[in-house]
Symmetry: C2
Subunit: 532 residues, 2 copies
């Protein structure tokens, strides 16, 4: 009975699912019960229609005026802003995250800001790296991929990482690449409302109507088939390691690019000088960061490495008191709660001890108690893979190192991570240890952070929200930050002795827009041949 | 009996293979017989020693002064140049390619030039894209991958793409990434001599001695295991599609980056105006390009799309006469000759007809006769995948299109290619057809070429020697051209509120070297805070 379910945004219009295999409803985390509209689980016909429609608009979209792309992104941002209260309330109901400050104070402004930065990037062309070699008659730039992108959004950011509103979405469109968005089934209503605003802004922009499509859910085998469809140019995924690795395998086998942001425990190193100065304050910082958003951030500090001894004990004691007193956390989903339980059990099985908290909450729904665990360095080294599994919730493991040599040994066995933080005194006491540990940590993380917790991902040209495998699929690309995130959806186009009039405008001799281009090795906004 | 075989360059020194599974000798293509020294087929112990040694120097190499890298590359280039006659003679014996002009006039100068451009790139830091966001306290650049690279070289360029001397080798080292080179077994002696020069230059530079290692051959299963070893950061491969896809699958499964340059037929479109002006001259250009290097180039023009009718016939007739009169070609290897035979048979089976040439040569050894085939547009469209398989030799298929609509249909079914060429009159007669076909071709190729044949790959910042799948593994990267080729071996490193003194020199406020950096969206060589 697909007639009763919400429509999907398919091939440029809102339609009933062509072949829904079933329906689902969002869960209210507060009560642990489904509510609201039924949404279709799309089948093969929906998927095929989406891929065919996205493929059909690829050429027109690739040739679109970037100003039109920018206009769409800005119109969409304005529409989200104008509807922010209603959106925030709906998202609150679907995710359990607070309307304020989370949505109205942080995530929605960030989402709109990101769309506007993407619009700027479209207008500035900075992502294209135009390069001109006059001696060899060669010119190149980064151009649209030439095939649509499949974007799969995560549970934890119904706006900023939504498949129909987040960084992957905006990045692909700046690269003039059509998006097939597969929303996260945890917030289908929010995704539908966003898609309505996106669709209206798209129609107003004059871009092809099928440039943006939305499916709410696909059966897992169909999701894998989509990721491995050779008509797809790239898959962008944010989510669990297990799901990400399965999608990656499907994409890899078909030569489809896969950009995944998979998992991370975001190690935080506390050096003795920093602990001596402010163990209590640092414990408070950890608690605040670890419990923010119920700990459901990719950059949640899930592992703190600190020395044994008095200063480490002071920090651990303060953290223990903080976690013991922390309010219960409301998780996004039943599955998330189950995963958290299993992850904590696995940490305990691998040798960790609970210092505070843990277990389900007393308030019903998807509630849990924040948990602080500890393990000594020897045991960590003996069980390093099991002890750095992501719990995805308000859980932190303290790892106590016997001495600097053991700290170094522990850093050496860390897997690839999105972030790594070092708290160090700034008066020189920690410098020798910093110089020993930071290069090792640096090589294992995407973003190295000084004296602050890893939660909080600025949308910046210098951000890396990515890292070495298995935290992400390619260490050279970031999922957040313009223009670098855009380049994931680009193909390098070289022109060899192509006459000026047949070149893209940005690669011609004349540069009326004053775009930064690298000509014979120098960055300049001048025309070719204008002299130095 | 490994004692008799040539030594491998392992863990910083020349040693007998630890566990050779057997030995092999180079074939002399001219006689079709093996000659010269025996070289070991390395086993697990050699491979394990190489990976362990490369891993052990990773940190030291990543921290090395780029000037030292540049010094190594320049010293190596000088040494190749000083030994060029002996190297060229040895390579001639192993490959059948001529000492002159091929090696002394083209490939060796190009190889040395490429090493020197890489040295410049190391000194200029342009590949690192330093990016500073003062408002958010974030700085980023592209940094060494943090794990060694496995480089597998092809048969067809014993110098310019040699695993121990070519673009992949130089690119990885500029990114301060150790290289385990697996030479192509077609030219083991040349590879050994190059490795001797590389090793001596490396020792003179003061870089870690195990930064560069050489194995001559690995059994195929061991090669796959190497590509999928999680201690390897990236695999760079140039060669056949079958071997490349197997290596890619192994690398993908382990989260190892794979950069492959796999195969391409490099379609050439002849528009009516260009044909009317100079059909005979264009046929000569085709013949010269298709038979250069016995057609064994990745960018060999293997498919020419041209209209039916008088002008197309004039071109086809001239090309037929040229191919019929062309001298026999000496291929690199017995395997190459067998592959060529099979490929021509497969084209015929798929509906192509031989217009001229084909078959084995009469002079013995690995000789063949250049072949020109033809097929009509309908048949091509009915059998498009089979008719665009790479023969890797002096073989071109003419595809005759009935009308512009069929030309368009044919371009639409082309697979991803390294290059695509359009010959068009420059007086406007071909403009309408150019505008119809070029955007379609553009989306399917890495390098779009105007009015010249695709052979000849300049080492240039604006080169793309890569393309959409399946011609290459990632359409955003090139295998040739500094600085872009270097970025394949880079990880994006972001620094978040890291104090100035703890930043890499290139990201600090002061910029005494005047390196181009993007600060708050603008490219500048000024210090941070120096004003606009």
């Amino acid at each position: 009975m697909t007639g009763a379910a919400a429509p999907v945004l398919l091939a440029g219009e809102w339609r009933q699912s062509l072949d829904a295999a079933g329906t689902f409803r969002a869960d209210d985390p507060d009560r642990g019960e489904a509510f609201g509209d039924a949404f279709p689980i799309s089948g093969e016909r929906d998927l095929e229609t989406a891929i065919a429609a996205a493929t059909a608009v690829t050429e027109e979209l690739a040739a679109a005026d970037p100003a039109r792309i920018a206009g769409f992104l800005e119109g969409y941002a304005d529409a989200i802003e104008a509807n922010r209260e209603a959106l925030a309330e709906l998202a609150q109901r679907e995710t359990g995250l607070p309307v304020s400050p989370r949505f109205l104070g942080a995530e929605i402004p960030r989402t709109c800001g990101q769309l506007r930065l993407a619009a700027q990037a479209a207008r500035s062309h900075g992502w294209t790296l135009p390069t001109i070699d006059t001696g060899n008659g060669l010119r190149s730039w980064l151009a649209p991929l030439g095939k649509p992108a499949l974007v799969l959004g995560p549970a934890n950011f119904p706006f900023a990482f939504n498949a129909i509103a987040g960084s992957d979405f905006a990045s692909a469109l700046v690269a003039r690449t059509a998006v097939i968005a597969k929303a996260h089934p945890g917030h289908p209503g929010t995704s539908r409302e966003l898609a309505r605003l996106a669709h209206a802004a798209l129609l107003a922009s004059g871009l092809p109507a099928a440039s943006v499509q939305l499916l709410y859910q696909l059966p897992a085998p169909l999701g894998l088939r989509a990721a491995g469809d050779p008509r797809i140019g790239a898959v962008a995924f944010t989510g669990s390691r297990v799901a990400g690795q399965a999608l990656k395998a499907a994409a890899d086998a078909a030569g489809v690019l896969f950009y995944g942001e998979l998992s991370s425990v975001n190690p935080v190193l506390m050096l003795p000088g920093a602990l001596a100065d402010r163990a209590g304050a640092l414990a408070q910082e950890l608690l605040a960061s670890c419990t923010l958003g119920a700990g459901q951030f990719c950059t949640n500090p899930g592992l703190v490495l600190l020395p044994e001894g008095v200063q480490g004990d002071a920090f651990a004691d303060a953290a223990r008191r903080g976690f013991a007193d922390a309010p219960e956390a409301l998780l996004l989903s039943r599955g998330g709660l189950q995963h958290l339980r299993s992850a904590v059990d696995a940490l305990i099985a691998a040798g960790a001890m609970v210092l505070a908290g843990g277990g389900d909450g007393s308030g019903g729904g998807f509630r849990c108690r924040p948990a602080l665990l500890t393990v000594d360095g020897d045991r960590f080294l003996a069980n390093a893979p099991a002890l750095q599994q992501e719990a995805f919730g308000p859980v932190t493991l303290l790892v106590r190192a016997r001495d600097p040599a053991q700290m170094e040994a522990i850093v050496r066995v860390l897997e690839g991570q999105l972030t790594g933080t070092v708290y160090a005194a700034d008066d020189g006491r920690d410098d020798a240890l910093y110089d020993r540990l930071a290069p090792l940590l640096r090589a294992r993380v995407g973003r190295l952070i000084g004296n602050r917790m890893p939660t909080g991902v600025a949308v910046s040209a210098a951000m890396n929200h990515g890292g070495p495998w298995p935290s992400a699929s390619h260490p050279g690309f970031t999922a957040v930050g313009m223009p670098a995130a855009i380049r994931r959806f680009a193909a390098l186009h070289s022109y060899d002795h192509v006459p000026d009039a047949r070149l893209p405008a940005l690669l011609r001799d004349r540069n009326p827009g004053g775009i930064a281009r690298q000509i014979d090795g120098r960055w300049t906004d001048a025309d070719v041949g204008a002299g130095a």
